[in-house]
Symmetry: D3
Subunit: 250 residues, 6 copies
């Protein structure tokens, strides 16, 4: 609909260091979906880890749509007094995805906070959040390695996410808002640089989908993920060649 | 672990009419997971339907674990002042699954409320809730047909759900709590009597999973769903032969 | 109105062990009022006991109407964000009544949680909750005695509750919903197996009531309580003869 | 303990017009318990009255302890985010008591708000609130009669309240804080100028109480109520002889 | 408008000891604005002081308008579930003003709570709260000195507050509600007995104001503050000559 | 401390159009304080305007610190469940400042939402929010003029804000975080392009300040404001010469 072929992802850019007080941050611009992804570090772990005697660190994520990210202004969560179910689902998904990229045992007694704030929404905010968060996380880990906080890199594999849908019986990769609203089936994939699955979330509100549709979406999604992981790699490496002078883990 | 083979579902029973003031209700006992599923009807629709001019009815679901459903007492949501993210995820899932079973246009200007309250939890409370809710929903729809509220049956297909997991590299069907806690991969499937997918939710917190593992889980899950749909059918039909005298839609 | 004489209580049944993860539980069916009563145990006491140096244990109660317990669906407390005043009154009443049945000093440093969830409401949910909770409490205490958690039985007396009302100048025992809505005076009695009062709560929203009416209600209520205590006794003893294998205090 | 005999109420004073913007107000000083009671009027009724087609007006009450009313500062309700169960019980009781004094049909389409704020607490704040609120209500109704808002006086009878207790087997009337803390039984009576009961609330946390104790408390309470009603009468009439110039119902 | 000249403050009275359980209290009547100011003491300090190792004590303030303080009843904060922004601004202002009057180091490990509850509002509730709170605070400190809790008086200077406004280009001192509603500019001054500023808060919602207007308001305000400090002095000293027997710091 | 003279403001930059779905937006970078300012429009007005019959439009502001804006991560408002008093104060201040720049009567029946989200905090976030919001507001108004939504420009004057402080008896303009933490006096000025005051907020937590200090701060602040207004002008005009194609008021 926007000039792309059905198997083409939208243009993807990372503007790193957008939030200079974070340990790592990037503004991911994926088509017209723009998300600030930032990683902060606290030198404590959640109470349940202490109570249950779990060693190592933790990673948790929060997600929010800024009120001016949608064409009709979206009221802030605090003005409604509670998080929407959709927001909770997305931030839990981001957290699980990022934890899959890291060996928490190697983090030390620390919590990494991954924050994703949507500046502009045009479909795929959860996949952009995950794909951008991995870049911000890599930058943060690099900072911690450089400052001697970490001696062994805890990142075990790259993680990226992409959406797929069935619109009028055609399978589309990386749906924008208009395409997403028209889709009969909505599939979000989170995959690793090793080609394995972290999350497969397929939903049919309009029509149930067949095994064949699922298989085709999985195959197309796999190709998209490969491109995303290349882009993440470049974003981290180019940036690190000329690393800005920024705060270490407080 | 509990004497079953890896591809065997736990024993399943429905005690219909457990909540006599509901339009349809069942106490589903699936192994040691027991859930009250009840369907009520209100003669209104949500405000957004009126505002957006959407015709027909609506269906929404709520899920809760009763405090005595776990071996360590679980505090009520109200005592913490908010819903857990997990609870919101589950009740949104139940709602989507039940809406996939019904042609909302045929409901009239009504909302069906599907309530699931867990009496005893031993793994698979979300799949038991979905599988039981379809029985309660069928009973409720039959009541509305019998009373003349509905003239055309809005149910388009049966819907059931089952969980799968990978435990020590072996694929298991219908995990109980102990198995679930040990699983590296967790997959929940919601499928229809026509063999199509409503939801595919696969998650890997411990280890990413391969395409082959996913394919094998999908195949085994399909067999489980077929058995569940047979059991649902019997539960509704046996009960209706000797229908109790219960309240119609208020 | 439902074929009973004015001094007759509705049929009363206890289905014990309805919530197998609780320490003691019963589904009390009193006419068309059905309430799940369950007792759980935590090996801690409230902070105020520690701060004030109070020895022994504690017992507290929570009450809720399940959304499908009324003919018009009742929204869950959590969806309104707070407990109704009526709910708070009832759960405080249940707590006081049960504490009157137990020597808290003999409990040890433990809290017993009494949970009452109404499955179907037809008047008298608070009296059914109290009368059923005493059965669940007895079963829980028996379990704790059997497992050696307790060496001396802390139950000092049986406790039961019944409602009375004045409808068109006639005194009725154990009102159902229709009778309750028509009553000018509403009296709830909580009494012991020794014939003494725990609670006397008489309220006149429509017309004030005289000393004579009060005296007559108290006399009739006393007879009702005696029957309830017989029924409780049978429920506990019959059940214990063939005690199921269930969890001990965690 | 404070020099009174067991059947003597503490000194009672009313300082009317303490809150000049209210329609009627009094500062009741009953021993060392001081409560501001004020009545305001809104020219609307609650939504449920309109929805159910109930005619006439409504009366509702709110109760609060000011933070400096107790010797240890009591945090405000808003700082804890919710009303205590005790507060809700008391304000519901005040509301029922005041509604029993008024023919709501004669109020017109109005809501009377009865607010009770405790300045100093020394036992019996709920009975002081009820006894003082009736004075404030009478002043408010007189103002509405004088301004022509009402043509027929809706007050049908005076209402007052007193507490009783059993302390070391002796029955005491009108307990102060120290006596209340020591009481085995706590009875609150709300009665009318006609000698009938509005509320009888007897509670035994420590020891159950016998029929004889109840009968004796009721008899002694009746004498207390008679004195209170005389004092209320004087407070209203003396004040009205020299009525201050104050705001009418807005 | 009410017979005063533009540079005249409204009549000011202090009725000390209005809340006998507080350590110090006064009912300040400033024109038709009446506020209860009370000071309580807790023998603890906030957690952040301990965490940051700050020595000495703390002082914090809370402000509330009683529901009957305005001609149209004002709902309680708790019924809306949160504090208004205006309320928070005012109580933060009162706290800062009172902390400026006290050497917190000399308080010991204690928190002083300053509570202001408006009985009747007619403009200037925040300036009345500050001016009255200093009287209550002085009484409380005197009590703590008399009882030996404090050995050195921590009060360093008197603090009072007054409002000014520009109404139809004329500068007015100490605005009542009608004047305040008409003002183009609103200035609140908190000043010390030494003639210095604690707070200068000038706001123009209608029209911006010039340097000349600001200078003239500051000069007129200074004169008002001088009168207030004289009145505070008298209120404390007269009262202390015949000090009532009241509670010391618990 | 950072190489500036005491009367020099930090470098100021505006990156307009940072939030493409807003009607007008800018990322203001003022030293190391970075704030996203965005203006959205709704075609409705608040209920109180309708109820009180006020004509024209409304403007309201919200302010938030993103969690990664401070070197120690700041939890989101929603995780604490309520707005801090400081946040409420700031957003009320921004709203008043922006309303002073606009003739609300000329807006039509619309609400403008001004949102300020702090990306990086280094002192002066409220003055940066105000100064940046005026740029975003100007861009939004220009868009509404260009699209024909407005026919007469409602902006009546430019508005900017700057902070001042007294540090070790020296007056400083535009304090960064380290300077602000050390300041004895804190003054925030909001002024117009005509050299008049919108807000004067001076606060002394540590030491009261004299008339002379106040006069000197006001004079220095005036010079700072003049520079800010020049910078705002350039930011709006340069941008508008090459206006991007962006959404009009929905």
């Amino acid at each position: 609909m926007d000039g792309r072929s059905a198997d083409q992802i939208r243009p993807l850019q990372f503007q790193n260091h957008i939030a200079p007080h974070a340990l790592g941050s990037t503004l991911v611009r994926w088509g017209n979906t723009h998300v600030i992804c930032a990683v902060c570090c606290e030198e404590i772990v959640p109470r349940w880890m202490k109570e249950q005697g779990v060693e190592g660190g933790w990673l948790t994520a929060e997600y929010s749509m800024l009120p001016y990210s949608t064409s009709q202004r979206k009221p802030r969560d605090i003005s409604r007094g509670k998080l929407e179910g959709r927001t909770q689902e997305i931030q839990r998904l981001i957290g699980r995805a990022m934890r899959a990229a890291v060996d928490l045992k190697l983090l030390g007694t620390r919590t990494l906070w991954v924050d994703c704030d949507v500046l502009q929404a045009d479909g795929g905010t959860r996949t952009a959040s995950i794909t951008g968060s991995f870049v911000a996380l890599s930058l943060a880990i690099n900072k911690m390695m450089a400052s001697g906080k970490l001696t062994k890199n805890p990142i075990t594999q790259a993680v990226a996410a992409v959406s797929l849908g069935v619109v009028q019986k055609q399978i589309l990769l990386d749906l924008n808002y208009v395409e997403d609203a028209a889709a009969e089936v909505d599939l979000n994939l989170v995959m690793t640089s090793k080609g394995e699955f972290i999350e497969v979330q397929g939903t049919a509100e309009k029509n149930a989908f067949s095994q064949a549709h699922l298989d085709n979406m999985l195959a197309l999604g796999r190709k998209g993920i490969e491109q995303l992981i290349v882009a993440q790699n470049i974003a981290v490496q180019d940036f690190e060649k000329n690393i800005p002078n920024s705060p270490s883990c407080p």
